[in-house]
């Protein structure tokens, strides 16, 4: 325990926390996106999947775990960002902005806006107090009509726009995050670094694009158009 406390007080140990929780959150997002894409198979598949999740005995354990991941990830990265600002009390008059590319510099901004989106998203589809609701809320088999909620919600252009914009931010966060994650954990070698360079943007695009495709497909009428 003493060992872990001492580790997390160091800069590299703090980065390990951000990277490890970030990696776990990426794993969650990947599964979440794959589950959501059941919407392509129709109302029955999606509602059945949602119903199974809702009734899962580990649901609350899983939610607590996610909350912890987010809390540690956000808490530690805010502390790091503060320390980083304090380490350069006097700004340069001119900066050539060597090396540091835009997604990297925007990490606190993309992260902060993602947190705001997370609150909106939970209010929309988990607590269900924001956005259009469906009547009746349950489908023919007595399950929550998640499919109907998605179609009703994303048919409102502003809600679809919020989701798509948030996924652009997510993509931006992940483009930097995935490459950074390997570096923080100590993986960087000439033999596989080119692969990581490709993997980062590809995985970011896959996850963010997978999520964003749903509101876009609803808006153009491919999903929910017939019903």
């Amino acid at each position: 325990m003493n060992r872990m406390l001492r580790l997390f007080r160091t800069s590299i140990g703090s980065k390990l926390l951000v990277a490890a929780t970030g990696a776990a959150l990426i794993g969650f997002l990947f599964v979440h996106a794959a589950g959501n894409l059941l919407v392509l198979k129709g109302a029955d598949a999606l509602n059945g999947y949602a119903d199974w999740l809702q009734g899962h005995p580990l649901l609350w354990g899983f939610r607590a775990g996610l909350l912890l991941l987010f809390a540690v990830h956000i808490g530690v990265s805010i502390r790091l960002a503060h320390e980083n600002r304090a380490a350069r009390p006097h700004r340069y008059r001119r900066i050539a902005r060597l090396g540091s590319r835009l997604p990297g510099r925007l990490m606190p901004v993309s992260g902060g806006l993602l947190l705001a989106f997370l609150v909106f998203h939970l209010l929309h589809l988990t607590v269900r107090t924001v956005g259009p609701m469906v009547e009746p809320l349950h489908d023919g088999s007595g399950r929550v009509d998640v499919y109907g909620l998605l179609v009703a919600g994303f048919s409102e252009p502003w809600i679809a726009a919020v989701y798509v914009a948030a996924m652009v931010l997510l993509g931006l966060h992940l483009v930097h995050a995935i490459e950074a994650l390997f570096q923080t954990l100590g993986f960087n070698h000439d033999s596989y670094q080119p692969l990581i360079r490709v993997l980062g943007p590809a995985l970011a695009l896959l996850i963010a694009g997978g999520f964003a495709s749903i509101p876009l497909l609803v808006l153009v009428g491919v999903i929910g158009g017939g019903s």
Binding site: S11, I12, N84, F182
Partner: protein, 261 residues
């Protein structure tokens, strides 16, 4: 050649500074940037004004003391070059050039362009000693080193401790410097018994000195005049995480105290 210089002037450590503008004329394109400043300083002294204080020693790119940020680039716009090896022909005639000191909490300005880079020395000191057999000189090749390890150690050992990595980093982080100083030993059999305590001491001292954390922007690598590669930092992370998770030293060693401001 003629130039307009905007140079940071600051009389002392805790005093306020400001930019001062100076015109320099008739400069030979073959003068180094430091020699151009020498010419300006002679003029200033001739007029009875205080010369611009800047650090320099070897003037051949190996001592690491010629610290200054030129037009937003540590050591100027040329990659892999120290200020003393930067020549005025690398600038356009008539250019406006902004010259500032390294900016980092861990590097307080002492005067004009001179900063105190002592925090880097504190990191090196925290690396401690390397145990060797004293007495008669050992035969050559009693300790064998693989060519790859020797080359990689040498690559890291090229670091001249100039602090450009800290100056370039948006977070004022000293990770590239510390990585170079750790990695130059980590691959060699000499000093292997101190391997864990060395990386622990150096990283914790770096943290205590008030440098920022690495956010993987990699500005350091582009600024480094010795082109220390990025994977050096990944290797430092590996070395440190390994020592922190696996060594007895991490539980037993005392933590370093915060660097005095």
């Amino acid at each position: 050649m003629n130039f307009t210089l905007h140079i940071w002037r600051q009389p002392g450590r805790n005093e306020t500074g400001a930019f001062e503008t100076h015109a320099v004329t008739g400069i030979s394109p073959d003068l180094s940037f430091l020699e151009m400043l020498d010419v300006l300083n002679e003029e200033l002294v001739g007029r009875g004004e205080a010369p611009i204080a800047f650090d320099h020693d070897c003037r051949e790119g190996i001592c690491g003391s010629c610290a200054m940020v030129i037009n937003g680039d540590p050591h100027g716009p040329l990659p892999g070059t120290t200020t003393c090896q930067l020549y005025m022909r690398h600038f356009d005639d008539g250019a406006e050039i902004t010259v500032e000191p390294w900016r980092a909490r861990a590097f307080p300005v002492l005067r004009d362009l001179i900063v105190d880079r002592g925090a880097l020395d504190a990191i090196v000191q925290a690396g401690g000693y390397v145990s060797v057999n004293s007495g008669a000189a050992p035969d050559a090749h009693t300790v064998t080193v693989a060519k790859q390890a020797a080359d990689a150690a040498f690559e890291a050992a090229a670091c001249i401790g100039c602090g450009a990595c800290v100056a370039a980093c948006p977070n004022g982080s000293a990770m590239l410097f510390t990585a170079a100083k750790v990695v130059q030993y980590a691959l060699l059999p000499q000093g292997a018994p101190e391997r864990s305590r060395r990386v622990i001491g150096m990283v914790e001292t770096m943290d205590a000195a008030g440098f920022g954390n690495c956010s993987n922007h990699y500005a350091c690598v582009e600024a480094c005049p010795k082109e220390i590669p990025l994977y050096t930092i990944a290797r430092l992370n590996r070395e440190f995480l390994g020592a922190a998770l696996g060594s007895r030293e991490f539980i037993e060693l005392e933590r370093p105290h915060a660097h005095e401001e």
